[in-house]
């Protein structure tokens, strides 16, 4: 038995070298940059860090980022659940097209995604004149930022739920239907308990991307300080002004969010891996 295992396993030295090479690569590409965010943020001490993140523009950016996430995450959550319900609990022509469409935002460059809204709502855009006449601002204002965030985070919840709900089938819902339960109750009492961890997983990824999106938001925000700068945009502005300490201070808050996201994600994968879609990320 052990001889057999030896024959299909590497020598200790080979294993050690491969493990060290993997750690070195991840260390070089991922860990060093992450560590540098925090060392740069605290290079001038805690007081400087606190001053940088409580400065009015920084606070406005934090508030805007939280607001945008608070609007866009629930919208994509509800619509993602609706899409997953229609796709997995029903049959209709064009279903595969719908699934492919949901995937499209993942493959579009964020800059292109943000720019498309500029062509719709910008001054030269389709609705530009009409919006101007009615004094509604979408481009270079908060609604545009929300739209850009919505498109880049569109797939996460649906992509997580569709394979999960497909693998769970429809028997339980159909049994509830036979017992006379109305639709919304079937969803709340039968479906939701089965998908809650997968849903949380999708919402977690949606939120991380919503708070961190840069390219799409950058194109449509107009970079108005204290007004349309989200945290990632504020990082860019400060960095380009060579105010590195403040840039890294704001960046470290976002890096902290990323770490919390990773921890919760890993916990979900350990504890509820069976209730997550097999399709990883």
């Amino acid at each position: 038995m052990s001889a057999k295992n030896k024959a299909i396993s590497e020598s200790f030295t080979t294993k050690l070298l491969l493990v060290l090479a993997a750690i070195a690569y991840v260390g070089l590409i991922l860990v060093l940059p992450l560590a540098s965010v925090f060392t740069e943020a605290f290079r001038h001490g805690l007081a400087a860090f606190k001053a940088a993140i409580s400065e009015p523009d920084a606070r406005a950016a934090i508030k805007l980022t939280l607001t945008v996430a608070a609007i866009s995450v629930p919208i994509n959550m509800v619509c993602g659940v609706a899409a997953a319900w229609a796709i997995t609990k029903h049959d209709f022509p064009g279903k595969n097209l719908l699934i492919t469409l949901i995937d499209v935002p993942f493959s579009i460059s964020p800059v292109v995604a943000g720019m498309m809204y500029l062509l719709l709502f910008g001054a030269q855009g389709w609705f530009g004149d009409w919006l101007l006449a009615h004094d509604i601002r979408i481009a270079f204002a908060k609604p545009g930022i929300v739209l850009a965030t919505l498109i880049v985070t569109l797939p996460f919840v649906a992509r997580e739920l569709i394979p999960l709900m497909q693998s769970q089938g429809r028997e339980e819902e159909e049994a509830a239907l036979t017992l006379g339960a109305p639709g919304w109750r079937i969803f709340l009492w039968v479906t939701l308990p089965n998908i809650r961890w997968g849903l949380l997983y999708g919402v977690l990824l949606t939120n991380a991307r919503a708070m961190g999106e840069f390219g799409a938001v950058s194109v449509i925000s107009g970079h108005i300080r204290g007004e349309t700068n989200t945290m990632p945009l504020q990082v860019e502005v400060l960095y380009n002004e060579y105010n590195f300490a403040a840039a890294f201070a704001v960046a470290s808050l976002l890096a902290g969010l990323a770490l919390v996201t990773l921890v919760v994600k890993t916990l979900l994968e350990w504890r509820h891996g069976d209730q997550l879609a097999a399709a990883g990320h």
């Binding site: 057999k4 299909i8 080979t14 294993k15 493990v19 993997a22 750690i23 690569y25 991840v26 590409i29 940059p33 992450l34 540098s36 965010v37 619509c79 609706a82 899409a83 229609a86 609990k89 029903h90 049959d91 209709f92 492919t100 949901i102 935002p105 493959s107 579009i108 460059s109 964020p110 800059v111 292109v112 498309m116 910008g122 030269q124 089938g169 429809r170 819902e173 239907l177 990824l205 991380a208 961190g212 840069f214 390219g215 950058s218 194109v219 945290m231 990632p232 990082v235 860019e236 960095y239 976002l254 890096a255 990323a258 770490l259 990773l262 994600k265 890993t266 097999a278 990883g280 990320h281």
Partner: protein, 286 residues
């Protein structure tokens, strides 16, 4: 194993209609959602590029500066995806096959690029790889400049692409039975031969998928690249940045033409990747 199965008049091609409620509502919401957020903007982009007229479109989309930016975006994405195909496979292999202290931490860290905002990644990579940084300084002793040139672009795209390869290869590697390896070992094959002739053919399709996903992501990447790239036209200017520059100059026509080229390339890649995954699935189940 004989099991008595209940009659299941479901999950077949013959099924006509699901008895469950909610289709009209959920389908309406889904279609509205995709129309407003995705289809309408896509139509606006294509319509705008059509109104440019073919001559103007080609001028703007394939100017020398635009061509240089495509070359950099696609070339750097290709190199970075290739690097990640090798090292991503290594990381996936180590995570699946070996037990060592810190394995779970390593596994969790791989997802960092999915969670870390790209602008943060961009300034962090610049801090590390610029000539004053932890890696850039020792490298500059050997005359190697890692930032503010195309190498910087490759480094940023390597950061962004790693999880795509690892997360695609990992499940396939974990599902791989050891039977064939044992058989090959019994026949006297060494470990390297077994890896090359038995394991690699099994996992290679997933490496290709991961490579393609990383490549597709890299082509459109913006936030993590612009800080480390240097952004010199013709030298270190990626295509998404050129779009942003055109927009800032209010050259919407020029931006639209380049954006359309990028968009068509990414839609083509999406279709190719979907087709490839379908082919791999069919081959595995056959």
């Amino acid at each position: 194993m004989a099991t008595i199965s209940l009659p299941r008049p479901r999950h077949g091609r013959g099924r006509r209609h699901s008895p469950l409620p909610g289709l009209p509502l959920t389908l309406t919401v889904t279609i509205l959602w995709l129309t407003v957020l995705l289809l309408l903007p896509l139509i606006a982009l294509f319509a705008k590029s059509v109104t440019l007229g073919p001559a103007h479109f080609i001028d703007a989309a394939f100017s020398r500066r635009a061509l240089a930016s495509y070359e950099l975006s696609f070339g750097a994405a290709l190199v970075a995806a290739a690097v990640n195909a090798v090292f991503g496979l290594l990381v996936a292999w180590v995570l699946v096959r070996y037990r060592f202290p810190g394995r779970r931490l390593l596994g969790a860290l791989v997802d960092l690029p999915f969670a870390l905002p790209t602008a943060v990644a961009g300034i962090a990579l610049t801090a590390v790889y610029a000539s004053s940084g932890w890696v850039g300084k020792p490298a500059s002793v050997f005359g190697l400049q890692l930032a503010y040139n195309p190498i910087g672009v490759v480094i940023a795209l390597t950061f962004i692409g790693l999880p795509f390869v690892v997360r695609t290869v990992e499940p396939v590697l974990a599902d791989l039975g050891r039977g064939l390896e044992e058989a090959a070992a019994t026949l006297g094959a060494g470990r390297w031969t077994i890896f090359r002739r038995v394991i690699l053919p099994e996992i290679f399709p997933s490496v290709v998928t991961g490579f393609a996903l990383a490549f597709a992501r890299g082509v459109g990447e913006y936030g993590s690249v612009i800080f480390i790239a240097g952004n010199m036209p013709f030298k270190s200017e990626i295509a998404p940045l050129l779009i942003v520059t055109k927009l800032e100059e209010y050259d919407y026509a020029g931006a639209t033409a380049i954006a359309t080229v990028l968009l068509l390339a990414s839609l083509l890649l999406l279709l190719l990747i979907n087709a490839w995954q379908g082919y791999v699935l069919r081959r595995r189940s056959a």
